[in-house]
Symmetry: C2
Subunit: 701 residues, 2 copies
């Protein structure tokens, strides 16, 4: 397997020889700080300062040009002004330097002139094969080797030994910030990569490299926009399959945020709903705050991902038990009650304990810590929980309780070493570290403990399910996307060829033909004006529903033809579409769009106001299989409607999922050709489902 | 004014003489710890241990009985077992002790026997006038006087001087927890009250006392259930009028949580939607986590509540600027752009800065801190913002930047002392405290800084608006609540008498009368079966809409009468109700319920699936005026529907608010008589609105 590992960033992250272009003798300057950091932090490779005006730099022999460096260089740090940076980078490429990290700013982030220069750098990378990080980045480092190719002062604030976290951030300032906050939280990082303007190395490739690096077990990522979506998807899928959690902060969720992102870097900001889809699809945890990002990474360090959602809550405060139960439900965990016989046994141990789940030790446990051990043991051994949280407030830091409490939880770890268990306690750093050493993630706030456990559980589920069932095969004879926007009849025909069930319908040129068509269908029918030029039929009163009987059908057809002539006199009219009425069911909307970054994506929502007023929809990137489709159906807030409200029977979710998966396959097969597909409504029936109307808009030429 | 202040808890919170019933010589025991705490922490009053088996306790002369204490006692701490506690409490009352704090557990929280004993304690309080805190509580304290009437060991962990926060918690364990977490966060508390089972003193009275105490500026409260709702409402209204923020954690939001609450204390858990209504109505901040509770109290310590929602974001990291902008929108703040001329001036200062808002200083500001001062000054002086957040990451803790940065922000405070401004920075405690001393609330996490600022802003708004317009006067001649459940006709008549517009309708006994009634209304009409026994008419097919023309009306009436005879043969049938069709508008639901704790409450939602599948409704406690009604309308997720979707005109929100306020007045006037009122639908029209159907259910028996 090892020959299949991604080693493309080895020269950048594990260089044996580095050059510093624009090296400075002053440790606080941009060209001086990396040298100073490497010298003080034990870099074991060779450092070659390049500075035409100095013999030595910080005690090292300096060279006038990269061409004078007497050995092959793995990585060059470029710390010269924008005006001469492109030339310096070209020199590096010509000398066979394997990679460059470009600190220099003044490129695509500062307008068109800068963008031109940046494209030139990208071209050098492409032509020479020299890999380039940046420009406009804060650099990279690998703590375990003392390699500090960065001019941030963050390395001076590192206080933790190297750990299993790899950090990649498009923003250098944020990358430094999250590193230091992580240090304070007890999170050990090793690799740190800021990608800046990403003219060559992008965040997806860095994640991919991390996944293949045995030193990295957890990925922390920050992005404002993504350039190479396929690369990112591939890396995220690989991370999931390798059981390496990815915790991602993607900013620009709202209008204001996205605007600030656009003005900050030269990012392509895809629509947030599509990012959300990406993260859900690949089991990535999206953090909303830095605290959350770091908290989840912290919890992941213990490497214990629950197999399911059933959590046992144990607490020394009943009130906090209630709060944790609230939180657990909010975060999607299951607070299942203890089996009755176990509750009965707990009651014999502590008569006044709450035993249902949460289990409330009560203050009595303080007098007899052994009772807590018995409580915890019973909960672990006699019930089927996937994970545990124990809330101890300040007890583990309290003079008389400190020792017995530590003994108790040491015993718990010894007896049940594999059980996922988080501690919530309040104490000084010494107390926290003592429990961490025993193998417990420690959270001061019980609600944040629940949030972290829910994240671990979601990772456990994502690792367990993997990619899920494959997308269905595209049917033979799938029709092409129409060349012009196509409404009901043509659109449904195309979708039917893609394997999506559609309502039966026939075109009637005259009222008499409509009567005949209705008679052939039997029962009440729907009449709709048929015209390639009238895509929004209701706006001209072009739809009549539930029409029954020859006279009514003939009258209706005449009415529609008259309205079309009056209200859309320019439109070509083919006649009237006669289709069966679908009785009952739930109106849903299935859609596909082509995201400028991620390509075809499929949307699901309930009809009408759910989509329009509530924006209650979920997305997935195409193509996907029915497992993923079921998950996207489950994400909408109004999903209870599908279970049946007011005594209605539940909708056939398998049929709905199948239609979504098939639409995703159609969209993926037509990437670049479709602008959008709307199946509105797709009527989800108690058995099966049917597309009753649709609109396909091809991409403009 | 001072004679109107609530001083009812003075003997409990500012006692000059205390007795400890069950005093122990051992400082770690329940009866020993309060004495130990008071002695070591400088209590200035007199302490009288009561213990029949000892001459002295912890060096103080002990008495065999409370009766032997030679002076009037303000507060007795009761630390004896449940079996003798009631007698001890009775003795205290008989001796004229002014108040008692009962630590003893084993009362209502442990079943019916305990509840009986607790009722006896309550009776003693009522009969004697002696105020009682507890039973089953951890006690009370007032730090500034060294009064520690508590057996928690939390006092030993206090590291901050007394501050403006008053803490009241039903749970003793949680009260201790939040105190210590608050200490760690830099929040100074003074009063701390745990109310336990609340046989006499309840959380509402404690808040009321806090509001009237000059030592308290901020109230932190924790509750699992409320007993005296009126008292709590009065206290919360008073806090708002006194501009004292109340930050509340109410647990038991979800089914699991509420169940745990019920098993933990003998609380009456009102429905969570009604608590949510209470908090919104009175401008209370509901915290979801302890971290949030403490963070908001921390920010309130600076006493600066923005007058509006416009926030200026300044940042040294563009990425964090995006994140803060996202957060600000999520928390309801407005990230309005800087005026163009100001942006132009900023551009001349830092050419590459983001100037829109967020303002991105960029790293250049690190070289010239003076630029940041100019940036901040322009944003304060030349634009109309209500508040500011400045994100500095680790810069204020960085060796070369530490001094200039502190100078800069000292200058900002001196020049613009009143401006609400939060700092987000990462540094050690010394750095954080230096900025706190300058008057800046400090948050490590920028997202949590935004959350806190949003909370301050919500307090500012609530303080500014006060109680809002009063509820409308009940109209003269308002009809009484029907004695039995009443459907459309009778219910609408009652609601019309309460000033709510209702649809015109008349009762037709025969098809002919229906034709005449329809002709009198003109246009299409609705026909509905009229029977006091058929409350859900659609279930028997008893509603026909949009009926027009004499034949159709007569046919329709006959159909309804036949269906009633066939499908509800037992029902008394009055005939057919003929009412005008309301064209257009948005279907909404107005409801009233009687909450077991808080009494009448009014609900608002959109019709159909919005209420049923999404539970997208908002509540308010009755009665209220139109301002409050407008706010509850604004809270539903689907509110965009009221603004008009698909080209529909916006609904008349004033008319809707008026109907809600009038319904609230009706519900309040009939507290105890109504079980529920449903106006479904109330059709909100472009001008006005009309109740089209209703159901009033009186309270049983």
């Amino acid at each position: 397997m090892s020959d299949m590992l991604n080693r493309s960033l080895l020269p950048i992250l594990r260089p044996e020889s580095v050059a510093v272009i624009g090296a400075s003798d002053t440790p606080s300057r941009i060209g001086g700080r990396p040298i100073h950091s490497m010298k003080t932090m034990g870099y074991t490779g060779r450092i070659h300062p390049v500075n035409p005006r100095r013999e030595t730099v910080q005690g090292l022999p300096a060279f006038a040009s990269i061409r004078d460096v007497p050995e092959p260089v793995d990585c060059a740090l470029v710390a010269v002004p924008a005006a001469i940076a492109v030339g310096a980078i070209r020199d590096c490429a010509e000398c066979g330097v394997k990679s460059a990290v470009v600190f220099t700013s003044g490129f695509a982030e500062q307008g068109e002139d800068g963008a031109v220069a940046q494209r030139e750098i990208a071209r050098i990378a492409r032509d020479s094969g020299m890999r380039i990080v940046g420009p406009n980045c804060l650099g990279v480092f690998a703590m375990d080797s003392g390699w500090y190719g960065t001019f941030t002062n963050a390395p001076a604030m590192i206080e933790r030994p190297p750990g299993p976290v790899g950090i990649v951030s498009q923003s250098g300032a944020y990358g430094s910030h999250v590193l230091i906050v992580a240090q304070k939280r007890g999170v050990g990082a090793n690799y740190w990569v800021t990608t800046g303007n990403e003219c060559d190395v992008e965040i997806g490739e860095v994640i991919d490299f991390f996944v293949d690096s045995p030193e990295v077990g957890i990925v922390v990522a920050y992005a404002e926009g993504i350039r190479d979506a396929a690369r990112l998807r591939q890396a995220l899928g690989k991370a999931r399959d390798a059981r390496k959690p990815v915790i991602f902060m993607k900013v620009g969720r709202t209008g204001e945020g996205a605007r600030a992102a656009a003005s900050h870097t030269a990012s392509l900001a895809g629509s947030d709903a599509v990012y959300e889809a990406l993260f859900r699809q690949y089991g990535v945890y999206r953090a909303g705050t830095t605290e959350e990002l770091v908290d989840i990474a912290y919890a992941c360090q213990y490497g214990s991902y629950p197999a399911g959602r059933r959590v046992a809550l144990q607490t020394i405060s009943g009130g906090v038990g209630v709060q944790m139960a609230d939180d657990a439900v909010r975060y999607g965990l299951e607070v299942a009650p203890l089996p009755q016989p176990v509750q009965a046994r707990l009651k014999t141990l502590i008569p006044f304990a709450g035993t249902h789940n949460p289990v409330d030790f009560t203050a009595q446990a303080l007098n007899e810590p052994d009772l807590m051990l018995k409580n915890i043991g019973l909960t672990i051994e006699e019930a089927e929980y996937d994970s545990h949280i124990v809330f101890m407030t300040t007890v583990p830091a309290t003079p008389f309780m400190k020792e017995p409490c530590a003994d108790l939880f040491r015993t718990v770890r010894e007896r049940w070493p594999g059980v996922p268990m988080i501690m919530s306690l309040v104490g000084g750093r010494d107390v926290v570290e003592a429990y961490e050493k025993l193998g417990y993630p420690v959270f001061e706030d019980p609600s944040l403990a629940v949030r972290a456990l829910a994240a671990l559980t979601r990772f456990g589920e994502a690792f367990g399910r993997g990619a899920g069932r494959a997308p269905p095969e595209p049917p033979a004879g799938m029709l092409p996307v129409p060349a012009a926007p196509a409404g009901e009849r043509d659109a449904l025909a195309v979708l039917a060829s893609a394997g999506i069930p559609v309502v039966g319908a026939s075109l009637a040129a005259t009222p008499d033909e409509a009567v005949a068509a209705a008679a052939a269908l039997g029962g009440p029918c729907a009449l709709k004006i048929a015209s390639p030029d009238i895509l929004h039929k209701t706006e001209i009163g072009g739809v009549l529903l539930n029409v029954e009987g020859d006279t009514a059908v003939a009258d209706g057809a005449r009415t529609l033809l008259r309205r079309a002539a009056e209200r859309a006199p320019e439109a070509r009219v083919d006649g009237v579409l006669v289709s069966g009425m679908v009785a009952g069911g739930v109106e849903t909307v299935l859609g596909a769009v082509c995201d400028p970054v991620f390509g075809p994506a499929v949307m699901f929502g309930l009809g009408g106001v759910f989509v329009e007023a509530l924006e209650d929809v979920s997305f997935r990137l195409a193509p996907f299989g029915v497992d993923e489709a079921h998950r996207m159906i489950g994400e909408i807030r109004g999903r209870a409607v599908l279970d049946g409200v007011r005594g209605a029977p539940p909708a056939d979710l398998d049929a709905l999922a199948d239609a979504l998966a098939r639409l995703s396959v159609f969209a993926a097969a037509n990437a670049g050709r479709i602008e959008s597909v709307d199946i509105n409504p797709f009527i989800a029936l108690p058995e099966g489902g049917v597309a009753a109307d649709a609109l396909i808009v091809p991409q403009a030429g």
